[in-house]
Every structure is written in C-alpha cells, then in structure tokens.
C-alpha cells in the first residue's frame, strides 16, 4: 500500500464512454493482485473532493492499467488525461480474488457486467499463467458496452458474450449466459466463479452459485471515502462466523465469497 503521486501515463485507448489508461507505477505494480484496486485523484483542487476507486485492470512489468466507464465528473476528468501527464494514486488496495494455486488445470468462470470486466481481465491473465482454464463471460446492454470483446478474443481467451438487445452475442443477461455455460459444461463444473458488475447481476450470480453449489467470489462496489480502512464509509453487510456485520469493502474486500454477502432488500 503506497501513495504514488506521479504515475506517468504511457498509454490511452478509448471506445465511446470507455477508457483504458496505462501508467508506470513500479512500486504499486510489484504488489498488485487481481481484484485489488487503486484510489485515483481526479483533481488538484478540492472539487471533485474524493479520489475515485478503480480496479486494477492490467499489469505488464512496471505498468498498470485501469479500464473505466465515464460515470460522472470524476471519471470524466480522468478521461481527459493524456500520455505524458501523471496520475496521483494509492494502491494496491484491498484483498482481491483468492487465487489458489491448486486452480491450475481447473476450469474457472469469470463473469463481467459492463465496466465490471475491468478487474477480470487482470484475473484472467494471472489465472492463465497459473494454468487454470479460464472462460470469460462478458455482458452489457448493447455492443458498445463490450469494447474489450475483440481484444479478449484476439488474445486467445475462451470467451462468450451477451447483450440485452442482442446486438452481439446471446440476447439477454450475462447471468443467463452463465447458466447456459454451466449447463453445457456438464460433468465438469467450474472450480471457481469470479464476478464483477452491478449489484443485481452479482445477486443473480450468487443465487446461481448457491443453487449449483459452486464456490464464487464477488467484487463489490460502494462509495468510498478513503479506500484504505480509515473512514468506515464503504461498508457492506457481510456474514462471518454466522454473524452479519458492517464490513469495510476497501479493506476486507472488495472481493468477498458470494455466500458471505448479505443483500439488502433495496439499497436506499
């Protein structure tokens, strides 16, 4: 956990509202694990006030990448940054996915909704390096929400996608794709399901996993004040030792075992 006030941006790609920034950050990169995230400063002034949390999307030598969708003022400011400029970031933060070495040779399913693909890409590379047989399911509202599809395919990942409107891939939800996939897998169910995306999607993933008795890890989101455990602003209800508590997502998460997450009926 470091502050790198001057991570130099070395690359930028964009697809509509989606952006990929890569930057040199040797110290943070050396420690980064899939599922961990960064808190990135979006302004030198106290407006917008807070850093923005973004998952670590990729690592290559000393270089890290973030992949994000413009959601408001903070991500919009970030999207204006160009190579040569620097980012001020804290990281790597949180605990990330539980990558057990004995996943080698086993099937793993990574399920990403929209910008939720961000941390799964890093995860997929690491799992592949480990020798796991990873399959990526990537869903969005429409084709424009799947900007990484071509890349994933080109890089040889086993890959399927879905869109709500059917413009590409299976028409429907990515969780329906997930059910198809498990059904098709037949005798060899995934040894682990890793998912990141909007809450309703994660809730559906958790249900399917429970139903099929699959171990699943979910990467959650929440409003973050600090990102490193100091403010207690980011809590989610998590069940531990049978007791549900408000647990800090930034410190103990953002990835939690699916069965430990207690979903509120409606988020207020």
């Amino acid at each position: 956990m470091f502050k790198d006030p001057e991570a130099r941006i070395v690359g930028k790609e964009s697809w509509g509202d989606y952006f990929l920034l890569t930057f040199d950050s040797p110290a943070v990169s050396a420690l980064a694990r899939p599922g961990q995230f960064l808190m990135i400063k979006v302004s030198d002034e106290p407006y917008p006030l807070l850093r923005r949390p973004l998952g670590i999307h990729s690592r290559k030598d000393k270089t890290l990448g973030v992949f994000f969708k413009v959601a408001g003022i903070g991500t919009a400011l970030l999207a204006r940054k160009t190579p040569g400029e620097t980012l001020d970031l804290l990281g790597p933060l949180g605990k990330g996915f539980n990558i057990d070495p004995c996943l080698a040779g086993k099937p793993v399913l990574a399920v990403g909704g929209g910008r939720g693909i961000a941390p799964l890409y890093f995860l997929a590379w690491e799992l592949r390096a480990l020798g796991a047989s990873i399959k990526i399911l990537y869903g969005g509202r429409t084709q424009a929400d799947l900007p990484l599809a071509d890349k994933l395919r080109a890089e040889g990942f086993d890959f399927a996608c879905s869109t709500d409107d059917g413009t590409v891939g299976r028409r429907g939800l990515v969780t329906e794709l997930m059910e198809d996939e498990i059904k098709a897998g037949g005798g060899s169910p995934p040894a682990l399901v890793c998912a990141c995306g909007p809450d309703p999607m994660l809730q559906a993933v958790a249900l399917i996993a429970r139903d099929k008795r699959l171990p699943a890890e979910l990467s959650l989101e929440s409003r973050m004040g600090c990102g490193f455990g100091a403010c207690w602003g980011c809590v989610q209800r998590i069940r531990r030792d049978g007791k549900a508590e408000w647990i800090k997502i930034c410190e103990d998460g953002p990835v939690f075992p699916a069965e430990s997450v207690v979903w509120e009926k409606e988020s207020p």
Binding site: F2, K3, P46, L49, C226, F228, A230, C234, W246
Partner: protein
C-alpha cells in the same frame, strides 16, 4: 528553522497539526503513508463504551467541495481499544488523543474512567457534537446546560485534560464555549460537522442510509473559521480549530483567527499524507515570512 511547537498549557505539541477524529482511523491505518511521529498528534475515532454497529449504508455523499458522512460512530468500543489498539499507540512519540462518545452522561464517564487507568493518552476529546447519532441530529453541544452537565461529570471523573468538541449547528457558539469553559474544559475544539442532507432525485430517497449526516471539507471552512474567531476572542482556554483545512494557508488562517492548534479531517481521506504536506506548507510560510515562533501569529488578526 522556525519553532513550530505550540503550548496548550496542559500539553505541548511539536507542531499545531493534529489529525481529526473519525478521519484518521486509530492512527495505525496511516503508517504506510506517513511517519506518525512527525504529527503534532492525532485524535482517534470516536469511542463509545461498547462496540457499535454504526448506520446503514450509503454512509457518504460527496457534495461541492464537501463530504457528508453518516458513519454513526461504528467502532470497537473502549475495551477492545485498550486491549488491541492502545498498546501499539503507546510506542509512538506523538500526542494521542482519544475522542470520547456517550449516549448519556454516565457513558461518557465510563469511557473516561476506563481510559484513566491507561498510559500513553495525552488528553480526552469529549465529542458532545456528533450529528449522526440522534435522528434529528441533536446532541449535548446544542445547549449550554447540557454542555455544562456533560463536561462537569467528565472533568470530575477524569485525571486527564479534557478537550470539549463543539457543534457548529448552534445560534450562539460563544455561549456554548463559555459553558464548556465554566464547567472545566481544558480546551475547546471546534467545529464538528454541519447537519446536512442530500436526496437522489431519481429515487426520491435520501442519499444517506441515515437520512441526515454531517458536512465537512473545504465547503464549510469559512463558517468554521468565523466560529473559531468568535470563540477564541471570548474564551481563556486554548482553542483547537478545524473545518475544511486543506493547506498550510488554511492552518494559518485558523491560527491568526485565534486557534492554538488545528485539526485536519476530511483531507486525510483524500491524501493520507495530507497532515505532513500541510505541515510543510506552514514551515515554508514561516521561513518566507521570517516567523521564528509560530505561536507568535496566534490571534493576530487585524480587525
């Protein structure tokens, strides 16, 4: 090198920069980012006697140059604090101040008494001003009577210096400060957060699980500074100023207005090393202006 130390009477600080309660965890969370021993000191997260659940999320909303929080003082309670956290803090060479909460006068007293047996605590800061606990944001710091009552009981129970932390959500801050002083406060800290609200127009729900929360950050600085100025010109005990401090210049504004020390809150969340950056800016200012003793600027505003 200018002398940056400030003397609160009951406590001499290396420098006037304290980290504010609730924005600095139990201190240890910041060790990866800065050397705690370089701070004037820090105030740990508010402690009730027992552990507390806190409020349902969302607990934070960002607003223009501000932050509304409704954490609701989730925390481990004083016993766990003494058992698990305090030993680590005792190894530090900086002023550790404990922020004391209570649902009743008795609870404040119980917390203070539990702490009294321990070493390594420079002072207690009595939080009679948290807006996130009662439904309507009310707290003892809303009236001189209830302020006096809590402070008197706590002073009676404690062997330690007592800093009383006031709420800005009042008509007459001077009156409350005078009540705290009269009841024995060794110092006055102000301000806690401003009672605030935000609504999601899409869902028509409050953006905070707790409906109301407390506003902090640069947005409130001009109001906080006014209150520190008003209080410092009327009380005899030292005033610890805070509210929206983001830079060395902000620290100097509060000190010129009359604060002997300051607390940095929300800035710590954005920059875990904010206190040291700010300290550096204060040092630079003193050097540039040839100020030998930082204490000389306290309460020098020319009105």
């Amino acid at each position: 090198m200018s002398d940056l130390s400030v003397d609160l009477g009951f406590l001499k600080l290396k420098n006037p920069i304290l980290a504010a309660s609730g924005t600095f965890g139990y201190g240890l969370e910041f060790e990866p980012f800065l050397d705690l021993n370089r701070l004037g000191g820090f105030v740990v997260k508010g402690l009730y006697y027992g552990p507390r659940e806190g409020n349902p999320p969302p607990r934070l909303v960002e607003t223009p140059s501000g932050l509304i929080n409704a954490i609701g003082l989730q925390g481990i309670g004083v016993e766990a604090f003494i058992a698990k956290v305090l030993p680590k803090l005792q190894a530090l060479d900086t002023a550790v101040i404990v922020n004391v909460c209570g649902a009743s006068e008795e609870e404040y007293v119980r917390v203070v008494e539990a702490l009294d047996a321990e070493e390594g605590i420079a002072a207690c800061e009595i939080n009679i001003s948290c807006p996130n606990v009662n439904k309507d944001g009310a707290c003892p710091a809303f009236s001189p009577e209830s302020t006096r009552a809590v402070v008197r009981e706590v002073k009676r129970a404690s062997r330690r210096p007592v800093i009383v932390k006031l709420s800005p959500n009042v008509t007459n801050i001077v009156e409350i400060a005078l009540a705290a002083q009269e009841a024995g406060a060794d110092a006055i800290a102000l301000v806690n957060t401003f009672l605030a609200m935000a609504i999601d127009v899409e869902t028509r729900r409050p953006k905070l699980g707790n409906v109301l929360g407390g506003l902090s950050g640069p947005a409130i600085k001009p109001i906080a500074l006014r209150m520190v100025y008003q209080v410092a010109s009327r009380v005899k005990v030292p005033v610890i100023g805070m509210g929206g401090i983001w830079s060395g210049a902000d620290v100097l504004e509060f000190m010129i207005a009359g604060a002997r020390a300051v607390q940095v809150g929300t800035a710590n969340l954005v920059d875990p090393d904010a206190c040291l950056r700010i300290l550096g800016e204060v040092e630079d200012f003193c050097r540039r202006k040839g100020i030998e003793r930082l204490e000389d600027i306290i309460a020098t505003v020319k009105t």
